[in-house]
């Protein structure tokens, strides 16, 4: 529903928002709440992120970190040229990242377009069973990813289709146009509706990751507001980017989202996940994110249900580093598989 001039339009009665904002949820009360959030000083935020990036992670900590990062990856392919074959290949890599070292952990999930979900589910086979050890989830991008420029009904059926095909997780995009023009209620309602579309026949929900597309929101104040909005509307995860817009994930952006998650936890005791996606290609960079998570929200966030890396080429760099740690010698790209 469009906002009115007074902004008193009621918005969806999402339970978190009801609890935190209280009263009759309206566009106006939501706006007032979001505008009351403390601002971000960009220079200080970036300096803090840079300082976290100088942590020196060596030996045993590094070995632990590499395996941990692998286990937190949403191994991703999101190309117009994706085929069932490409997806099967991706799944194979997810299952056995390094055929030369079977102690290598599996990734957390594979992330594909909605129409590829059936192929991913099929390729995973038993590894997708609910109780499978080393289970790998299937995440689907939805809601007219990456632009989000489609009607509400298209977005909802996009979501419902993916869930019906077996997606465990839905990565939706917010309506950045609406957000940037201040129509927070619209963005909020849409997240609530998509969350509802994640509902399975048995009453359970696919996990909802809300992509803010931080590169388009542009400012840290916007990113912080959008993070709060997404959580209030029911998101299980907040995710930086589609990977289709530059800049994608950056350390300061992720830090600022982690701070929101930390504050939400302080406020409600509830833990929300964070997923930086796009642009994280090296182990060195990924370790900086690990440090940032551990020092901002705590180490307990370093689990697949609370933190993910949306990445593709990162995995191979992790494998090369891992091989270096095991063998003592530097490895090379011919010693890891390209898919």
């Amino acid at each position: 529903m469009e906002t009115t001039a007074t902004g008193s339009t009621a918005i969806a009665p999402a339970s978190r928002a009801l609890e935190v904002i209280g009263g009759d949820l309206t566009e106006k009360s939501l706006r007032r709440y979001l505008e009351g959030i403390a601002g971000v000083d960009a220079v200080g935020l970036e300096a803090r992120a840079a300082a976290l990036g100088t942590r020196s992670i060596k030996t045993t900590s590094k070995a632990w970190a590499l395996d941990k990062i692998i286990s937190l990856i949403d191994l991703t392919t999101l190309e117009g040229s994706d085929t069932p074959g490409k997806v099967r290949s991706l799944v194979a890599k997810a299952l056995v990242p390094d055929a030369g070292d079977l102690s290598t952990p599996r990734v957390a999930a594979v992330c594909v377009y909605g129409d590829m979900v059936p192929y991913a589910v099929e390729a995973l086979g038993r590894a997708h069973d609910a109780d499978a050890p080393g289970r790998i989830n299937v995440a689907a991008v939805a809601t007219a990813f990456p632009s989000g420029r489609a009607s509400r009904s298209v977005k909802l059926s996009d979501t419902a289709d993916a869930v019906a095909a077996g997606a465990d997780e839905i990565d939706m995009v917010i309506d950045r146009g609406a957000f940037l023009s201040g129509r927070y209620g619209l963005v909020f309602d849409e997240i609530v509706a998509v969350k509802e579309a994640c509902r399975r026949p048995d009453g359970s929900y696919a996990h909802l990751k809300v992509i803010l597309e931080t590169g388009e929101l542009n400012t840290y104040d916007n990113i912080r507001r959008a993070s709060w909005l997404s959580i209030l509307a029911g998101g299980d995860f907040i995710k930086t980017s589609t990977g289709k817009v530059a800049p994608a994930a950056t350390l300061p952006v992720t830090l600022s989202m982690l701070e929101v998650v930390r504050d939400w936890h302080r406020l409600t005791g509830e833990k929300i996940g964070v997923k930086p996606a796009g642009g994280i290609r090296t182990s060195k960079d990924a370790i900086k994110y690990l440090v940032t998570v551990a020092e901002t929200v705590g180490e307990e966030w370093l689990e697949p249900d609370l933190f993910r890396f949306g990445a593709s080429s990162l995995l191979n760099d992790l494998l090369l580093q891992r091989q270096k740690l095991t063998s003592g010698s530097y490895s090379g790209p011919a010693y890891v598989t390209i898919d």
Partner: protein, 499 residues
Amino acid sequence: MTFLEYAPAPESTSILDLKSEYGLFINGEFVPGNGESFTTISPATEQKITTISCASEADVDTAVAAARRAYEKTWSKLSGTDRGKYLFRIARLVQERSRELAVAETLDNGKPIKESRDVDVPLVAAWFFYYAGWADKLDHAGLGPNPRSLGVAAQVIPWNFPLLMLAWKIAPALAAGNTVVLKPAETTSLTAMLFAEILQQADLPAGVVNIVTGAGATGSALVNHPDVNKVAFTGSTAVGRSIARSTAGTGKKLTLELGGKGANIVFDDAPIDQAIEGIVNGIFFNQGQVCCAGSRLLVQESVHDEVVERLKERLSTLRVGDPLDKNTDIGAINSASQLGRMRELSDIGEQEGATRWSPASNLPQQGFWFPPTIFTNVSTSHRIARDEIFGPVLSVLTFRTPTEAIAKANNTPYGLSAGIWSDKGSRVLAVADKLRAGVVWANTFNKFDPASPFGGYKESGYGREGGRHGLGAYLAPAAGPKSSVVSAIMNKTPLGGSK
């Protein structure tokens, strides 16, 4: 193991090639001092690093004479361009040997290697680069055309930023055309000795920079030497006061960089996460052993509880320990006597009724350590709100209105630094205007740059270091007639010529 403990990542000391003993650096050579040599130790382990010479009064005399000779025969005759080139050389050599200097500084001072590596040493190089460029542009220093150098500068520096303070003193002095006798602090002479080696490598003419090591007596002999023209001191207000007394009437130009009790003011609209970082950086940077530390936190009452809670949470993630470990946030206290003062004032804080809090931490058995500490329920009359503790101890006070914040911030004999945290630009600028402090950081803290003047109001000293203003401390305007017709009459006629 938990990830957050991070495996040790110590910086190797193998890059150091230290001598077992260092002499005084006089007239371009290392010479033994006539005072009683002393050992310099690592405050983190109390292990001996090396032996340092002590300059006697006669040694100081020799050093001043060498500086005088170099001033008259060499340095004052050199073109600004050439003086600048020497300074550029020094800057480059500092950069080349930066790792070594950082390790030596951390070993000798106890500060975390990440600070000596990322802050101290890069700023040392930057300081020499900045002032190198000034050497042939002194006409634009703000003292009119052809300003004059002063002569021999006596410089006494503290132990909290040993090499950086050396750079703050030596770079502008040489750029302006003076020669130097510098005395490092007793507990931190090591990097000054490495710096002397750099000067030899740079082929700086003998006597232009002389370094005399020793304790208070050496410093006193230096600043009171009759043949010095300029005294520059950074250290405690008590010593600064005694130097101001002893140089009175001597005509020595004096600049003093003394103590502080900086207020860090947090308004309710502050960017809260950055403010927390700024508070931490303000008081725990260099273990709080910083004259411009934000040691008084003034928080608007409405956000006091939230700020304190977040601060405590943040403090719990600080790593205290081996300064050479690249992940250490808080290193060792520089000396047993400093540690004693921190303990004493903190005990007084408790006795006066303030509430003391430190995160759980396992401090090493050997060495000098003090945990990051916060005092809440502090009143303006408490000693911990007035005296400079010079350690990782934060006193938290509250205010209700901007006017009250300003009044409390200014309610101190000191006036070196202050911080303001607010998202409202108009208020930030208005508060900055009203604070009686030489450096005001808005939405940041403890930032330093060679282009930016630094120095205090009131009992925090006088004169500025850094920037164009920093040159003024080492120059005098060209002499020349200024008198008017009337003043000529004034001069010739005795008062009351006819009665």
